[in-house]
């Protein structure tokens, strides 16, 4: 509170009241640091390896408080933080009312943030009962073998060496020359019966959401 908080009127003319008020406010000067103060973002310092915090240079919206530099942005309950836009408002508070420990707390209720970042030491879980692992573009994943029942037919395109299907071993019904192990496979026709099982194999995820990035 400051002198301007005193409403104009007879109270300002009461010297004893003014003196008493100053005395009380002097003893309770720390109370002012227990209030939330409105500031505007002037500059954003994004986190780095040396400084993991988001630091803001902020401008006071009142004449009672100074502009601040390197005001740490406090993270949310789930470890996330946002990079606010320059010009947006933030609320600055003081830990335990201590003028040496200020931090930015709440962001602008209207302005969008530039980046919203969620960090977690071990796991980020989306959904109330999420338990399936999410894959990212570029990750190596299990693709799987397809096992069939009811038999199938393989029609090789040719019996000429170098144009045959490749097999890890010579299957029944084909000569060793037809398998042409080690050479590039040629095209042919694979006819399968019913799919009965899929077992582990390897492949690559080649697509992902354009609106979600997970590091």
């Amino acid at each position: 509170m400051t002198q301007k908080d005193i409403p104009p009127g007879p109270s300002a003319l009461d010297r004893q009241l003014v003196a008493f008020r100053e005395l009380v406010r002097g003893e309770l000067a720390r109370l002012a640091y227990m209030a939330p103060w409105e500031y505007r973002v002037a500059k954003v310092r994004a986190p780095s390896a040396q400084e993991p915090r988001v630091l803001l240079d902020v401008t006071s919206t009142t004449t009672d408080m100074p502009d601040l530099i390197k005001c740490p942005l406090r993270r949310s309950m789930f470890g996330g933080y946002a990079i606010p836009k320059v010009g947006s408002s933030v609320v600055v508070m003081f830990l335990n009312g201590d003028p040496t420990k200020y931090y930015a707390d709440s962001l602008d209720p209207i302005s969008d943030v530039d980046i919203a970042q969620v960090l977690a030491a071990s796991k980020i879980r989306l959904g109330a009962s999420g338990s399936a692992a999410a894959a990212r573009k570029g990750d190596t994943v299990h693709g799987g073998f397809i096992l069939v029942s009811g038999g199938g037919t393989i029609i090789p395109p040719s019996t000429a060496p170098g144009a045959h299907l490749c097999y890890p071993a010579t299957p029944a019904g084909l000569s060793a020359a037809q398998t042409d192990q080690g050479a590039n496979p040629g095209s042919g026709i694979l006819a399968l019966g019913s799919i009965t099982d899929i077992t582990a194999g390897f492949g690559t995820v080649t697509g992902g959401s354009s609106k979600t990035e997970i590091e």
């Binding site: 002097g26 004449t63 003028p99 040496t100």
Partner: protein, 221 residues
């Protein structure tokens, strides 16, 4: 010729009181044998007591002038604007208090300088509030008007004095001394009739019209 009790050595004090607290700033209310304006900055002298202060309020009436005098430059009650400090290496207490003192014309001396942290926010308000926030109950005003942050010097009163009375209820002592300057907060005194030594917590000198000085002392315990 200078008077026993005077401002600036020549402006004779007819009567008054001088209150010197353990922490904070001393104040004096004096009546002078003149009606003319007095300087804004004065040295209040009573015997060997010499205090530098500033006139806070003054007016003349019925052939005399009375004045309220506060220790130092009288600036601690002035407002200072907001300011912020940020230094990853730490910010010294003396820097913050030195800045605020300079802004209001005062001087400050920090006995043991320390870092208050890597940041500090000074809001608009009376300069003394910054002192209260950072120095707490450790600051007082030396006779020369310098604000000291730290303990009082430990001295023992060796000049002669008479213990005229002692109020056990108030914990106050009435002293008669020719050396009022020796009676400062933090000083240790002892008399044959009072038992253990005591430390001065608060002093009030009362200057009577008849030229006598009565000293009331509160002990720290």
């Amino acid at each position: 010729m200078s008077a026993y009790a005077a401002l600036n050595g020549t402006l004779r004090i007819i009567s008054g009181t001088i209150s010197i607290p353990y922490y904070g700033i001393w104040v004096a209310e004096v009546v002078l044998a003149l009606t003319a304006e007095i300087p804004a900055m004065v040295t209040l002298g009573v015997g060997n007591l010499s205090l530098k202060g500033a006139v806070y309020r003054s007016a003349s009436y019925a052939g005399a002038r009375s004045a309220l005098i506060v220790g130092g430059a009288g600036g601690w009650n002035d407002d200072v604007g907001p300011a912020s400090y940020q230094n990853d290496s730490g910010i010294l207490l003396s820097l913050i208090l030195g800045d605020v003192a300079k802004a209001v014309g005062e001087t400050v001396q920090v006995a043991t300088d320390t870092s208050v942290g890597t940041a500090f926010v000074r809001r608009r308000g009376p300069a003394v509030n910054v002192m209260r926030q950072l120095a707490g109950d450790t600051w007082w005003m030396r006779e020369d008007g310098t604000t000291i942050v730290g303990p009082h010097p430990t001295t023992t009163i060796t000049s002669p004095f008479t213990l005229e009375s002692f109020s056990g209820a108030k914990g106050s002592y009435s002293i008669a001394s020719e050396s009022p300057g020796d009676w400062m907060p933090g000083a240790i005194f002892q008399a044959p009739t009072m038992g253990d030594p005591r430390t001065v917590s608060y002093v009030q000198h009362t200057l009577e019209n008849d030229g006598t000085v009565r000293t009331e002392v509160l002990a720290t315990s």
